[in-house]
Symmetry: C2
Subunit: 408 residues, 2 copies
Amino acid sequence: MKPIGPIPDGYESRDGELSIGGAKASALVAEHGSPLFVYSRSLLSSRISTLRAAMPEQLNIHYAMKANPFAPLLSQMVELVDGIDIASGGELAMAIEAGAAAEHISFAGPGKRDDELLEAIRAGVTINIESPTECDRALAIGAKEGLQPRLVVRVNPDFDLKGSGMKMGGGAKQFGMDVDLVAPTVRQILDAGADWRGFHIFAGSQALKADAIIETQAQTIALAARLAQQIGQSPVHVNLGGGFGIPYFPGDTPVDVAQVGVALKEQFAELPEILSNTLFAIELGRYLVGEAGVYLTRIVDRKESQGEIFLIADGGLHHQLAASGNFGTVIRRNYPAAIATQYRKPAEEVVSIVGCLCTPLDLLSDHVEMPKAQVGDIVAIFCAGAYGATASPANFLGQGPAKEIIVR
Amino acid sequence: MKPIGPIPDGYESRDGELSIGGAKASALVAEHGSPLFVYSRSLLSSRISTLRAAMPEQLNIHYAMKANPFAPLLSQMVELVDGIDIASGGELAMAIEAGAAAEHISFAGPGKRDDELLEAIRAGVTINIESPTECDRALAIGAKEGLQPRLVVRVNPDFDLKGSGMKMGGGAKQFGMDVDLVAPTVRQILDAGADWRGFHIFAGSQALKADAIIETQAQTIALAARLAQQIGQSPVHVNLGGGFGIPYFPGDTPVDVAQVGVALKEQFAELPEILSNTLFAIELGRYLVGEAGVYLTRIVDRKESQGEIFLIADGGLHHQLAASGNFGTVIRRNYPAAIATQYRKPAEEVVSIVGCLCTPLDLLSDHVEMPKAQVGDIVAIFCAGAYGATASPANFLGQGPAKEIIVR
């Protein structure tokens, strides 16, 4: 038997079933089919409310839409947050369609094509410049179009976020510019008459320890101040990055956001003079939406092989690549999961839950304890709100995407 | 510096560029854009010719279309092989559209839904039965429709393919039926008046050692004979599985198919009486198409960070997940790659080639030696003909799929 990750707070039981936004899993699947991604509006709202209550009032909260660009969810996020962070021309179009104002959109990413820079400059969104040559390209496009680009310089920080699932600083990186290149690039932007907006400093993601996030935020503010001194000008805006993770695996515990908020308030009370009028933001994707989504998939077969029980679902890694352990993880561990139609019933047997694909990679839950489930029961995989549908190979084995819905 | 895998045979240089089907990489990208998958008709044909020349004449060769279902490629494969192996209702539709005859299509997969079984039975394709309950469902659908299903029993072999990248036998598995369940299931099929076609026995994939493949084929034939004896009836057909791998990584060498063919001819010369009229097939996906495809992606930025050089491409893991090391591999190693526009020029520097996605997972070539490349040069990632486009999360970060083309 292997353990599963912790089921997020906020999910209820109704008539012995998992209920999402007041609707039972079986009713949702009966209406919308299986497999199905279900996102909860109330969990999205409550997550942002809790976070805002913990954080300093003047801190802006941005949503990194790469975590989940589903249009109805994105529209709600546009209402709830202060900015949308995009990573491609495709995301730019989706953000504008969802109602985001150009002045609240920032575009980061190491490989922006000229056509994406052109669209971004025409739309008037902020571009996070990742290299000297990208700066040259953006300025040239702005000059040719007769437009003043809004440019932030993305910094490759000389420190990393300790304990983060993905380090994005503290070494040679494709993201942003090394610290010594920042001041000359900002001067080039100012000299060209472009609109220099400040810094983007992203040290890592998916950290669970408040202490590590606090330390990184302090280092980030200090770095921004040092760079501003070098430049001799205050940044309008500093994006402190993200880093807030969510618990996926056994033993993981949620980030203590109250502790992070208290520390950040102290930081803001003692800001260096050059940052005293700067607007700060954090940029979160997974943390805002990950726990608000569940993937439901119907059991189509139950079989035994050499004494082991397999529950075979009609979904799989083509929708839930990360849950199968095949995306960004070295050692496979079990995501939180349950039999949605036998919710909170006592465990009776050890099963492996596999997807429908004809490959041994398609493993959703490996040797987990579950109540006894039959064909027709519905499996719930939690933490499906971020890096699920769009981070999985939907067309693998001719399957196609799962339907996505948002409930109250 | 880290090594790269071996570039497959059959690729030529023209005017200092990689040439595919007689067309230079820069010309292909100028006409079709970047990123781009390019598949070679002549490499597909020559692979099958070489294989047929090595294998016993009476052996059928099937194409497992999950490896690459691109319609023009699939149509060519339908002409070249003796059968198409499918893994979903979606693939069934594609195979028929590509011109495959129903009697040459076999449908395997552990999680077939009722609607997929119904489509398959109506179409008259062979269904590889994976469990007793799936057998019940298929027979019930056949009875209800007044149709005689064509059924093969898929066996979970009691051995595995040594050295295979993915083991699909030799333990508890979601694929097929344990050996002791096979004879009762075949009797049930015969008693129901359905058309029992034989066995499907698939022990593993992506093996490079001829000895291991030979041993597994011998074990497979022996198992088929043993099962036929238990049943007291000869199978019309035995699918011996696949297992032929291709070299991806440093030190990998191609399968010695001549050696496998010689051994299989010997096996066929000494078949047990009960298999003397049986038709045998092997089922290959990656081996047939993997080396016939190249992924081309244009360099949009070249930057240095802390003394290391990054070439940033306009493609990435959203099209080439396996090459990024994020699909089915524990330790990341470099796929064969080259600067297509500086082909076979001497290496001058160590670079990392990354994709355009704003995530550190998007790494195509890690610290590889390459000729000096600039913005506008084109990177080629080889072995892109199998498990590329459809095995990658095309919509990640709002990017969308790459164009695919087939050349002569």
